[in-house]
Symmetry: C2
Subunit: 401 residues, 2 copies
């Protein structure tokens, strides 16, 4: 009996094929020998998407296909079993995962289920705002925006169809608003609408856009976007969102049929339901990225909290999720081979925020970049990532030069 | 005083740049010498559109630009003054036209204001159905349909987002439903939707689709479209239309968020308000296409009724509107030159109904055509029309070969 158990391969289950999950899978596939472990990757869709580029198909400035990568094109099915399913429940004590159809057992679990929009209890924000979080959700935003133009042509007295409110001016909010500023004039042309009738608002509760970012670059971003027609309202929380508009903390009302909320993200609610200690749905992991008290469960990406040297959490980004994936894969292989674990250390390689197709701001080490050069850097980062998960063939298929 | 009046050029005002109006204008421009008359063309938009092709941009199978022709590209501004304005009122006794901004006087008037959807008092049809009648309205239909797919991906339990109801199976209804049958599978692919979840209904009150058309060709059309997934419900009026569906006369209910009504057309309501005798908004014109009792007012296109030899009205088509435009232009020139008028005689050159991009049915004289050949005939008719109103340059710019 013991013999049979000893011979069974350790089962690794990865939940979610976002940045953290897919990098874990790809690295396991590379580092594990055949028959060293059973690896199963579970994801709701049969594709991975490049979340950091979703602001483009959301605005309609890029084809959603460019942000989409078929999982079976990048994993080796001899090494990793892919299951297209939705996770319903994590049962850490039984070491089981309940899917919409069926149940999986695991010895080691990697949770990379991604985030959910955090609306901070703002009334109506859940019901009436849209969110940039998946290909489906950005397709909705894009179609919704085009539809508002078509509806305006039927009811030209309703200017609220041409007013677009983006709540939150962090990275996602700013990148999206920049694409909108490029897209709206084209939609005006397509639908014969006077561009001066349109309004794009970026609304931020913090006193500045891109809170925490370099002040000089923030000023550049703000000026660039204002020149392109974006109106900023900072230091002003949204108090309420309803079917035809938003109310600001100042009492001011903006009539609009389009609100996109980018103001916050929290962890997946399944983690709290699994009995883990969470803060806004996220687990503060141990130095090896494991759930405290569960040495066989790793958490990567938006569901995890990693503290920096000053004891403040790193913001959830694609960059940190990818580095977490590399670390988790390394430690899983080490565990299986009875080797020592390595602590996770985040190494910032820099930060880029795009401001439309040919403009961006970036910090790399101590260097500040802005304009076209910074936008090339963003493309390079994309290419590097494609290469990492899919090698040259994926770069050729998906990179935009 | 008399001398001054004698020297004033006769003022011709053409209302509407649809088939009837634009052909009247183009023919006047060709036949009139400089300084023989003041001709003014009034239209709501600064473009003419090829109504017989609107079923394609409505379904999203063709770019709306292809159906759009800038009026200033085809008229000679030395001969015709173009005024972009909406007609608010026709005052036949004062010989004045009230526009949204300003007033025009005329000596001779040509009314080509087009039709309005006739919903036969079906409750909810005006409020909840869309109509194929202008570029703006077909843009709305197209964006609406795409939006339903995006919404379905957010609420995948709501199958009514994927159900499309076309009310009326006359020429417009059938041509549109054929394009939809080509378009829907592509949208399924784009949005990752199982095509078997979609439904396209064509609902007709008459006992057959394409009422009055050749039986053999009707059978061919029906079979072709059924093979492409269209479900026909004939001999069954729609009793009611509401936000989430339609109720048929049988009591059966179809849940849908998309209803396009092609079941009827009536004349522009301004004609009745002008004090003319109308039947469903249309004026039964005299043999010269004039309003009875108003020898200086001509009516062309959907606002006019012309009886055939059996005393039944010809159906309102692009073909008859164009022939009316030619006749009116001829008679206006004759009037100005004190020559005799010519009675209008409609000469049918045949009928084509497209069944998607590469298929159609047609009757030309006694010959029946179906399939690819008939679809080429439709293209030829398009080209002939483009040539007629804009010569070779327009054919080169707009014809699709």
């Amino acid at each position: 009996m013991d013999g049979i158990i000893m011979n069974r391969l350790p089962r690794i289950v990865i939940l979610g094929a976002g940045y953290g999950g897919i990098v874990t899978a790809i690295r396991l596939q590379k580092e594990l020998n055949y028959n060293e472990a059973d690896v199963t990757l579970v994801n709701k869709h049969d594709y991975h998407y490049i979340t950091t580029n979703l602001h483009m198909p959301a605005a309609g400035t890029d084809d959603p296909k460019n942000a989409r990568i078929n999982i079976l094109n990048i994993i080796d099915e001899f090494k990793i079993v892919f299951v297209k399913a939705t996770v319903k429940e994590i049962r850490p004590h039984e070491r089981k995962i309940v899917l919409d159809e069926g149940v999986l057992s695991y010895d080691y679990l990697v949770i990379g289920l991604g985030g959910e929009p955090e609306t901070f209890g703002i009334p109506g924000m859940k019901e009436y705002a849209m969110h940039i979080r998946s290909l489906n959700s950005v397709n909705l935003i894009r179609e919704h925006i085009e539809y508002q133009f078509a509806k305006f042509k039927q009811e030209p007295y309703r200017r609220e169809y041409l007013t677009f409110v983006v709540g939150g001016a962090g990275f996602t909010g700013i990148e999206f608003v920049a694409e909108l500023a490029e897209r709206i004039p084209k939609l005006c042309k397509q639908f014969d609408v006077d561009p001066s009738w349109t309004k794009i608002y970026s609304i931020e509760a913090a006193p500045s856009i891109l809170p925490g970012f370099d002040q000089e670059l923030v000023e550049y971003a703000r000026k660039t976007l204002e020149d392109n027609g974006v109106e900023f309202i900072v230091g002003t929380p949204i108090k309420e969102c309803y079917q035809d508009g938003v109310v600001l903390a100042t009492g001011e009302e903006i009539k609009t049929t389009t609100v996109v909320w980018t103001g916050g993200i929290r962890g997946n609610s399944l983690l709290e339901k699994a009995g883990f200690d969470v803060v806004r749905g996220r687990v503060q992991v141990d130095p090896y990225l494991r759930v405290p008290g569960h040495d066989n469960i790793y958490v990567v990406g938006d569901c995890s909290i990693v503290m920096n040297a000053e004891g403040k959490p790193y913001p959830p980004t694609a960059q940190i999720a990818m580095q977490q994936g590399i670390s988790v894969a390394h430690n899983l292989v080490a565990t299986i081979r009875n080797e020592g674990l390595r602590e996770f250390k985040f190494e910032s390689k820099g930060t880029v925020a795009s401001l439309g197709k040919r403009n961006a701001i970036a910090i790399v080490g101590n260097r500040k970049l802005k304009g076209y050069k910074a936008s090339l850097l963003k493309k390079l980062i994309d290419i590097r990532y494609l290469y990492m998960i899919g090698g040259i063939p994926l770069v050729i298929r998906k990179a935009r030069f």
